[in-house]
Symmetry: C2
């Protein structure tokens, strides 16, 4: 991945925005860095550093203007056009992602799902049609899909590499438990739930050791 903004800052900007949007809904107009920091369990210095990195500065007497900061983060994170996303593998995880995501973001939109299971192909979940994986390339082209989410069984993930490359996909969010490599030019985020849980467990243990 290449960009001048660190990956962790991009993650936090996405999180700040979700919080700010929720504050905006509640009619909150201004927010101090330490309040935003408190909600996210980090320091105000970190918040200010992140916003400095993207070139945002504000009148600190009243805190950040919520509307302006949202717009500013939008300009950093969002494409001008909508990016279309497809989910590959409509088991429990794929269904959870599909149902969960579309309400949240107007610049990223899940507009297709794929499976090999005949019982799932042709079905519709939250208005999203499930296509047969064998039609992947044609559907990607027709629906202008840019990003795929892999929620298929780990065993078949590596079989998807060539179809994904051939279809011209630009980004992959991989939830299977095996990291996948793609050629330069395709962005991949490998994310395994086991890793997150093992991380929590490690720090639980570290906390206990510190308290002995």
């Amino acid at each position: 991945m290449s960009s001048n903004i660190p990956e962790k800052t991009i993650e936090r900007l996405s999180e700040y925005r979700r919080t700010l949007l929720s504050c905006q809904d509640q009619g909150i107009k201004h927010m101090f860095s330490h309040v935003l920091a408190g909600i996210h369990g980090i320091t105000a210095v970190q918040v200010r550093r992140d916003l400095m990195l993207i070139g945002f500065s504000s009148d600190t007497k009243k805190g950040y203007d919520v509307d302006i900061l949202i717009e500013f983060i939008n300009s950093i994170l969002d494409n001008e056009t909508i990016l279309n996303v497809a989910v590959i593998g409509m088991g429990h995880l794929g269904q959870a992602i599909t149902k969960y995501f579309n309400a949240k973001n107007i610049k990223l939109r899940i507009n297709a799902s794929f499976d090999v299971d005949k019982a799932k192909v042709g079905e519709t979940l939250d208005n999203i049609h499930c296509y047969d994986m064998k039609d992947f390339e044609q559907v990607v082209e027709k629906l202008d899909i840019n990003i795929v989410i892999l929620s298929c069984p780990t065993e078949i993930a590596s079989e998807l590499v060539i179809p994904i490359i051939n279809a011209g996909i630009k980004g992959v969010l991989n939830f299977t438990s095996k990291p996948i490599n793609f050629p330069k030019g395709i962005v991949v985020e490998n994310y395994d739930i086991t890793t997150l849980l093992e991380k929590v467990a490690y720090f639980v243990k570290a906390n206990e050791d510190n308290n002995m």
Copy 2:
């Protein structure tokens, strides 16, 4: 979170271990740092730095001894006793996590799930019983649950803070889209799928801008 080992290193150790276990299954005895690095899409320097941080060194002529390295990572990541995990919220995501996780780790075990939905309470998924959320504290004590995974609707996540504190839970993996704060002593990992997808989308855009 407090520990001498950075969070990102802990995540990578968990990922290395999964790869090494899979190599061990295939009868692979040794592995060079650059091979391990290649599988994970990072540099060999990063792998060596991570392993140096945990104090692991090896005969570099044949690469790392797979069995010994797995044992070493186990000694860092794992508790001596099994940690019990409960899933709160048995919608699609909760079911996906439950079905997916238990085969993978012998030191972390999902041994209960909770819901408020009468249709789910009393049911069993992969031998894991679903309890009524109103019995949370008693069940946590009886089954010695240490960690919870929140896969409930975001709207009710904040209602769970007090029960989680009162039950003596030590770690929380929060998949709802709202970060939750807990008192010091409870480890929290807030993790929203939207963030990951927005991050992929950002770097897709950054790649395209670089190619113009």
